[in-house]
């Protein structure tokens, strides 16, 4: 058994652009689910709207492709009505943090036993490249043609502050670590949030000087700062460059959870 068996083979090849990081993240998530030994009959994928949220359409399980930003509310209904189902949510940065911000905060607060994989490409890819709440300052997008002027969210900090049990961040370069992180998230009862920074070559990369897919992935690799190193740097008083982002398991705790399988 490998993660390939979880795909709807009649729907591949998928609609994602050449080099899109979403394909990678779906592979890692399915590999982690496969390792958990879950059955297809008891797994449900829920997603909102966007490139990331097209993923459940390619996976051979029951899935719910809902309205923009509301994936977590639908997933809450599914999980609370039948806690024996394993529910995994695919969202994107805009779907989760912009229109879905309220549902994100409350799902973390309730600590519902869900696993959320957020494919953060820092842009609205499906609709042509508009700015998102995670677009870094100064980056170009179709609605920020003079450079983004708004401070972006740190989704992992938001999840931690709102009460999630497991929060971690990796990129589409760190495939093995991401697979392990998703695996930990699936095992941890309560709300598990895994943010995966991905490359969007067509919308983000094209506008922000990443002409090759490999260049953007190289950027993600060089600008990720392992959590252990960040802690050491903080202790020794070194300054952390502003464009680096921390990767690794950022939060793991045991707050009371809702909707756990009995």
């Amino acid at each position: 058994m490998s993660f390939e068996d979880w795909y709807r083979q009649d729907r591949l090849p998928h609609i994602y652009c050449a080099g899109c990081g979403n394909g990678t993240i779906i592979n890692c998530t399915l590999a982690a689910i496969d390792q958990m030994g879950w059955k297809k009959e008891e797994t449900v994928f829920v997603s909102g709207i966007g490139c990331s949220s097209r993923a459940p359409g390619y996976i051979l399980t029951d899935s719910l492709h809902t309205t923009h930003g509301r994936a977590l509310a639908f997933a809450t209904g599914v999980k609370m009505a039948n806690p024996c189902l394993n529910v995994v949510v695919f969202t994107g940065d805009g779907d989760l943090a912009a229109i879905g911000g309220n549902h994100f905060i409350h799902a973390c607060r309730r600590n519902i036993d869900l696993t959320v994989v957020c494919m953060n490409n820092q842009i609205y890819g499906m609709t042509g490249g508009q700015g998102s709440p995670t677009t870094p300052i100064g980056c170009l997008s179709s609605t920020t043609p003079f450079g983004c002027a708004e401070t972006p969210f740190d989704l992992c900090e938001l999840a931690t502050a709102a009460g999630a049990n497991y929060v971690s961040r990796w990129t589409s370069y760190h495939v093995k670590e991401l697979e392990k992180a998703v695996r930990s998230g699936l095992e941890t009862p309560g709300f598990s949030f895994i943010e995966a920074l991905v490359q969007c070559p067509t919308a983000f990369g094209r506008r922000n000087k990443f002409r090759q897919v490999a260049d953007h992935v190289e950027y993600l690799r060089t600008h990720s700062l392992l959590k252990a190193k960040r802690d050491r740097m903080l202790e020794s008083g070194e300054k952390i460059p502003g464009d680096m982002f921390v990767v690794g398991e950022l939060t793991r705790r045991n707050r009371p959870a809702m909707g756990v399988k009995p």
Binding site: R11, V46, D62, H65, R70, A73, T76
Partner: protein
Amino acid sequence: MTSRLEFWQGNTACAEGALAAGCTFFGGYPITPSTEIAEHMAAKLPKKGGVFIQMEDEIASMASIIGASWTGARAMTATSGPGFSLMMENIGFAAMTETPCVVVNVQRGGPSTGQPTMSAQGDMMQVRFGSHGDYAIIALCPATVQEMYELTVKAFNLADKYRVPVFLMADETIGHMREKILIPDKVERVGRKPLMRGTLPFKADADLIPGFGQFGTGHHIHVTGLTHDERGYPCATNPKLHAALVQRLVDKIETARYEMADYDIINPESSKVFIAYGAPVRTVQQVMHDNKDKDIGFLRLRTVWPFPERALARFRNVQEFFVPEMNLGQIAREIERHVKVPVISIPKLGGELHTPADLVAPLEAHQ
């Protein structure tokens, strides 16, 4: 069938009707005047093994009941005007994905925040056309506390049979009043048509209703709000497919309108006929009682959408229809489409019920 006698508030009767019908999930948000339904469900539903969850807003409430419905639960929510407007996108999603669910709208004075504690019937057009695009729904209107109970049970059965969101359009008067109610021993339950193995999940039978493939039973259904083919896969750029899908969603309800139509006809030979639904029914009943010598007929609607226009044709000698409503003539407009005689709308805004004098005055003006 024995029954017991109770003295209940309308909202309590609605919640008890839902429990009797087998509701196992309630996801709601408090809003006057429907909060009592949520509170009653919060106390009673967990005792019966169901799930009550107070969501963060009405959008999440509607979303959670759709999610719960796909796991096989009978799911319901209750709200009023402002929350109803918020739910519209997800109501469209439920209609498009053919998800059975029940939404109770205890109407209050609108628009906007309006009159939270006063009665109105201002959402009757919104319930039919509120979400974007073409779709069809079922709307039931109770006029007594007894009907709050019975129509809630009926709403669940219709939702499961036709795989559509069904709306119970009560108003603050009926929701908050206390009245005698006879509780039957048991209620009829009509379940969902199951999906047969090997059948495509969104392929409809002759009655235009596909089988329901519950999550967790190995059907591997992909449910999406995008235009989808019979396998459930998105096919948003296929014109014929979209036209066929939307037509089927509308025909599924509209062609079955007479099977589900529920109305009372009194004095079909009269020349002056009242048509009413919800709270104004009570005023019409008072007028008919006080004026037995006059030639007045009455069409009391319990199913307002899909509109049962054949009921109008039963009044062969009618010269005018009088439609008292607590809005500016929303259903009067629908009636006008179907008849050639004058339709006189008797609107009443402000939250108070029509008085008998309000109804008799137009009658006499049109002698």
